[in-house]
Symmetry: C2
Subunit: 784 residues, 2 copies
């Protein structure tokens, strides 16, 4: 009577089979007869329809992207227990060494990639910008534009080609996918080696091409990919595996490693070890253990050390155009951070508007991504054309807009040369005469990192016109929106920080008569408020900004704007990552159940006929069930003579059944397996394969005569499945389901005379789309 | 067949009643007959015996300290649902305002107390030290000792008297108790107003008296007390309550506030907002929601602001002897933090020895506390005498030990006067001639904070002899051990940091030929390693030290020593707070189940006859059950004619039954209650009262004729109790129990023909002592 909601390997459409199940179904059928009109209404789950209509394919990649649920539950069967009992001290030591070794490797790998990324971007973009500005200084304006635009377009086309042909899944930020994985949703290609490759190089090319995109999201995805590769433990195909790795052949340990990887990514992107840990805790992870805190911190500290060593090495000038400049963006020491009521008021206004603008950003990104996905669906050529169009448009904006800015005389009190000659270009001369600089060109004709540093610089060293700031803010805001969703790896942090810093500095100029706060500080607060308004993260943003600025003095103001902008924005829509998760149709389980679920009980949502097995089952029955359904878990019921009455024995997984069938541990009689079963099959055989790589039912060859033999399922049955009574509130069941990382949850009857299991709940049964599809007259907004 | 493990209000001994329960017991009896020999062995829970023998009374206080389980589960009954459905927008706004308002108030309160504490200590101890040193400088040595020792003894006696007579629960660190509360164990007096009062003033007096104790633990406890007072919402007795507070009349919201309070305490003690949040997350809290992260951070930021404002205010010299010195202990700018292999090796050795010394510290503290508790049990006079003895002994050590130190010539390159004249006493002259200082006196005759600052000071400004450092380290190590456990508020952070800093600086001197690391840095690393070796916290210590030193450069070394010392120490025993929890007999649920629990199932540990009620029950039956047992939760079973077969309706709480009985919503017939029941009783009546203040069964007066009337329990029955099947692995059940903050868990049968509930599990059933008592032949060390 319950349906199995997991989508099967490689099988995109969610199939519910309609055959009679093995036992006791009439009885359940009778019980459920009163609800039959419901049953017809929800034989087709809404969620799958939803996935198709909103076409995640276009965004995740041109390949169909099968979604699989992960099983983070500790599986409690005889085979595993046997293995666990026989574990020796040396095994535990191996495990601990591996665990920490992997954490170290993730940190090293992500740190090196982070350094390589910055190094490559600064050199490529620096070369591009230096060429352009040197042509400009020779007044060869048309040539300068041609060089600039064509370099940008080529870099963009290369990034798009990588994405389109090698790993479509590498497009976009990657944070939503990592979030989904950590929530228990695996889309196979998301953490594949080729995705890692494209993510690294695509991100470098994309950022160098001058797009309004960041490297932060891609870095998080890169960290997760590195962790995933380590966790899957090389490859059996290439004999690159090691027996120690058997401990990581489960979803839980991989999840923990990917959490470390995500934290390492943030740490590498912002050089913020504590911020990385808090990002993983606040935004990325759905499950958290206090042991993980320490391991994650260890990983991010390794990243910090790697970056520090690399920068130390480069400070001697061996890294080309890669600067020695740390990421300490806002130089607090030169600014006065004391404030009064009027200053606070200005900050409150800044935060409120940022909330509105931030939620509008999310709204527009959503619309643009949906539109782009229609184009991207049509094929690789369309994808690349779209990228080139956006690249060319961006180049035009960047090159032509500075012409409207007025020239500003160089300040006398600075140590760097003005107009700039180096690639960092703090004071771009552009079309201005000697001794003058173009403020808008200093922002546009620069790398994103340098633009942020310029905007954050205190008042005494840098001046921007209000009109320039307005043009800059408006352009970046719009470009950021139309850039996300094209087929390149594109982080969202930098666009938001850029727009926010421009907005903050603009408001700083406007509020000048009322407040004494420095404009650079306003830019920082603007960036914080925009981050709060779009991403809706709080503590991690605070700590990242704290680590970037290295001063606790700013904390109160940063917290204030974050609090305000997040609160304002939450009234309009959800965080941008949550929106993207929704567009992609990934079945993400929220930490909190929807309020209307309090009024439903678990039996209200289970659907479809239940397929269950006997403790000792005919091979043919299993074979048939595996072939005809996509279910991933089956309840096992013990029946007389093996028990007094039918009783719940446990739950068996499809992947484990496949291993058992492959090993052919059959017998001719209906009897319990001998002890020697544990010698024939071991827990190692049941280790979870890399994503999308397990045994398939097609791989197994069963003879006709074997179909009538019996197989004892007890050794592989999880004897402690999570169960709920059918009258349990759906909200509570959802919380149990999420908190324990379950894939299946058995529903047991509340009274006598019914089969011991009346249904199975899976992730899809808790999705608001599914529940509201079953009960269309529930108003989700009414039940606050 | 199940026992109810909660200890009842005010009732210290855990009583299990032996009466026949209501229904279906014969059947369960038959089922359980095979296990009867087990049943006899565990009719008396071990845990209670354990509490008595280890006499928590002596430590927590002279009063009997009843322990109560808290219920963090969302209680899902009709009355609450009714209230929730009728909630309006304005109610939600009220709730949000209150939530953030309380967070603000907790931050303000804790920040002010933190400031007041430092202010008072610096003034009292400063006065004491100035008087002593001025007598010393006049060579009136005997007088100086008399003044010093008598002042110390008086202050100590005052602190002890406060503790002994007003709030015995205020003795000790307080962190274990807060940890236990957040785990779901409430000892009533722990968060009472008088405990708060004594904690604040006792801590000031104790620290001023020159004990080797800190203010950190007491600050955490103070923060938690402030939060608890706010959460309980004033007092009905004094009409200081407000209708808005009804939302906080449950254990969950109070728990969240107390988490904020604990974080605020750490933030106030160390001026480390992020460290406070991570402390709450890593060490204090057992449950964590990501929403809490932001609220906690807000609270600690408020603390940070309050402290900053106060220090700004005091920097003008209005606060007497309270210095302007920030807590930035180790001045990194003056030290060179580059290191090679030999330096790393030195740090590894430092960490390893610190691990051994730290675990020895824990072992000795455990022994001393157990010994002291025997003395403290005898009465207030004994308590105070013990405190005075320790105070006098400490004074003797502090005064006489510096005599063995050699005089050191004053350095020429310092800005402060040498020998010191101010109270901070960086260079105490003691018995030395002018132009010389006594290094040991500079450590001993100082406040703890100044001693730490001296030890952390870089090499160029301060010199300590190896012999002085050895004497200092040894003395502080021993004094720290013999001081914890006396009846004053005594934090453990400062003793450990002091001993660790002395140890680190000593090793820095010893390793001098091999390493170029600064001795001040060694002292810092020594403190970190000692903290790791005793407290076994990791990330929070790292971040606290990071915030104290304000430099990320130190992070790798600090992490390394922490990792080493914690790993070494974990081989010997557990963290000091866990040990104290154990000594106090608080039934703390660990995050991980014990390994041997994997081999047990839930039905193996349920015990005692089960008392359950019908959905519509006789008043007399309820009355009798409440009077004759201490159970706090009763399953409710629906029976014909209200259902086809006996089925589980839910769980009802003692406190809710008492309200229902008090309201006398009885009827003469056995029928369902009318709708007007919701007008007669409201959810407000069922709000959880302050700890230990609910209605008692003695308060209710039932007439003889009412005994035969019926009462409908459905409106107050939690229709979604957490259930597990009887064959669920005990380890998994323990994890569900802990993760959802449960107080009761119903055990349902796995097969037909048995009553719908076969037992109830409570906190005590998951205690290792209980389980190992039932199965004495399980070797807890074997099942690794």
């Amino acid at each position: 009577m319950a349906k199995e909601g997991d989508v099967n390997h490689g099988d995109y459409v969610h199939d519910i089979e309609n055959e009679a199940s093995v036992d006791g179904n009439e009885e359940i059928g009778r019980y459920w007869s009163g609800l039959s009109e419901r049953n017809t209404s929800h034989s087709k789950p809404l969620l799958v329809k939803r996935i198709n209509t909103t076409s995640q394919i276009a965004i995740v990649g041109a390949n169909l992207c099968p979604i699989e649920s992960l099983d983070y539950e500790i599986f409690d069967n005889e085979i595993f227990k046997q293995e666990w009992r026989s574990r020796k001290k040396v095994d535990i030591i191996q495990y601990v060494i591996l665990k920490w070794g992997f954490a170290l490797l993730i940190g090293l790998g992500t740190g090196l990639v982070g350094f390589f990324n910055s190094f490559a971007v600064e050199n490529i973009a620096g070369f591009k910008l230096l060429t352009t500005t040197s042509l400009m200084s020779q007044k060869r304006y048309a040539e300068a534009f041609l060089v600039y635009a064509s370099l940008n377009t080529c870099l963009a086309a290369a990034a798009a080609a990588l994405c389109a042909f090698i790993a479509p899944a590498a497009a976009g930020s990657g944070i939503p996918e990592v979030k989904a994985y950590l929530n228990g949703v695996d889309a196979h290609t998301i953490l594949a080696p080729r995705t890692l490759f494209v993510k690294i190089f695509g991100s470098i090319l994309g950022v160098s091409a001058g797009f309004v995109v960041g490297k932060e999201g891609p870095m998080v995805h890169t960290g997760a990919c590195i962790a995933s590769l380590l966790g899957q433990g090389g490859s059996r195909k290439y004999h690159l595996t090691c027996s120690w790795l058997r401990y990581f052949k489960n979803d839980r340990d991989r999840r923990d490693m990917i959490t470390c990887g995500a934290a390492a990514g943030v740490a590498a992107a912002f050089r913020a070890p504590v911020g990385g840990v808090l990002f993983a805790l606040e935004e990325a992870a759905s499950w958290w253990r206090s042991a993980l805190l320490w391991r994650t911190f260890f990983t991010t500290a390794v990243v910090g050390i790697v970056l520090r060593v690399a920068i130390e090495f480069c400070s001697t000038g061996k890294c080309g155009l890669f600067g020695a400049g740390g990421l300490i963006l806002y130089d607090v020491n030169s600014a006065n951070v004391t404030y009064g009521i009027l200053d606070i008021l200005a900050v409150v206004i800044l935060g409120s508007f940022a909330g509105v603008l931030g939620s509008m950003y999310n709204y527009l990104v959503d619309k643009v991504v949906r539109t782009y996905s229609l184009i991207n669906e049509k094929g690789a050529a369309f994808k690349i054309s779209l990228v080139i169009t956006v690249a060319f448009f961006t180049s035009c904006c960047y090159y032509f807009l500075p012409w409207v800015a007025k020239c500003i005389p160089c300040p006398s009190n600075v140590t760097v040369s003005c107009p700039s000659t180096a690639e960092s270009g703090e004071y771009q001369s552009f079309q201005c005469p000697p001794g003058y600089y173009n403020d808008l060109a200093s922002l546009f004709l620069n790398t994103n990192d340098d633009a942020i540093r310029n905007l954050f610089s205190p008042r005494i060293t840098k001046e921007f016109h209000i009109s320039s700031l307005f043009i800059y803010f408006f352009t970046i805001y719009c470009l950021g929106i139309i850039t996300y969703g094209i087929a390149i790896p594109s982080g969202l942090f930098i666009p938001v920080i850029l727009a926010g810093a421009g907005y903050g500095r603009l408001l700083g100029r406007i509020f000048e008569p009322f407040t004494k706060l420095d404009r650079g500080l306003f830019a920082l607060l603007g960036a914080a408020s925009f981050l709060g308004g779009t991403m809706r993260m709080t503590v991690s943003i605070c700590v990242i900004l704290l680590e970037l600025t290295n001063d606790l003095l700013l904390l109160p103001l940063v917290m204030l704007v974050l609090l305000i902008s997040k609160t304002v924005a939450d009234n309009f829509n959800r965080g941008v990552y949550d929106q993207i998760l929704k567009i992609k149709g990934l079945p993400y389980l929220e930490a909190h159940a929807e309020p209307y679920m309090k009024n439903l009980v678990t039996r209200d949502v289970v659907s479809g006929p239940l397929i269950s097995f006997s403790g000792i089952e005919k091979v043919g029955t299993i074979w048939h069930a595996l072939n005809s359904t996509g279910h991933n878990g089956f309840p096992v019921i013990d029946e007389p003579p093996f028990s007094d009455a039918p009783e719940l024995c446990g739950l068996v997984l499809r992947s484990h059944l496949l291993v058992l069938l492959k090993e052919k541990t059959f017998s001719n009689e209906r009897r319990l397996a001998d002890q020697d079963i544990f010698e024939r099959i071991s827990a190692l055989d049941f280790g979870k394969a890399g994503s999308g790589k397990g045994i398939k039912v097609e791989d197994i060859d069963i003879q006709e005569e074997e179909m009538d033999m019996y197989v004892d399922l007890h050794p592989i049955t999880n004897a402690s499945p999570f169960t709920v009574v059918e009258t349990m509130s759906l909200a509570k069941a959802a919380i149990i389901f999420r908190q324990h990382g379950l894939r299946h949850m058995c529903v047991v009857p509340k009274s006598q005379g019914r089969p011991p299991v009346v249904g199975i709940l899976t992730r899809h049964d808790f999705m608001p789309e599914h529940v509201l599809g079953l009960y269309p007259n529930i108003d989700p907004h009414k039940w606050r």
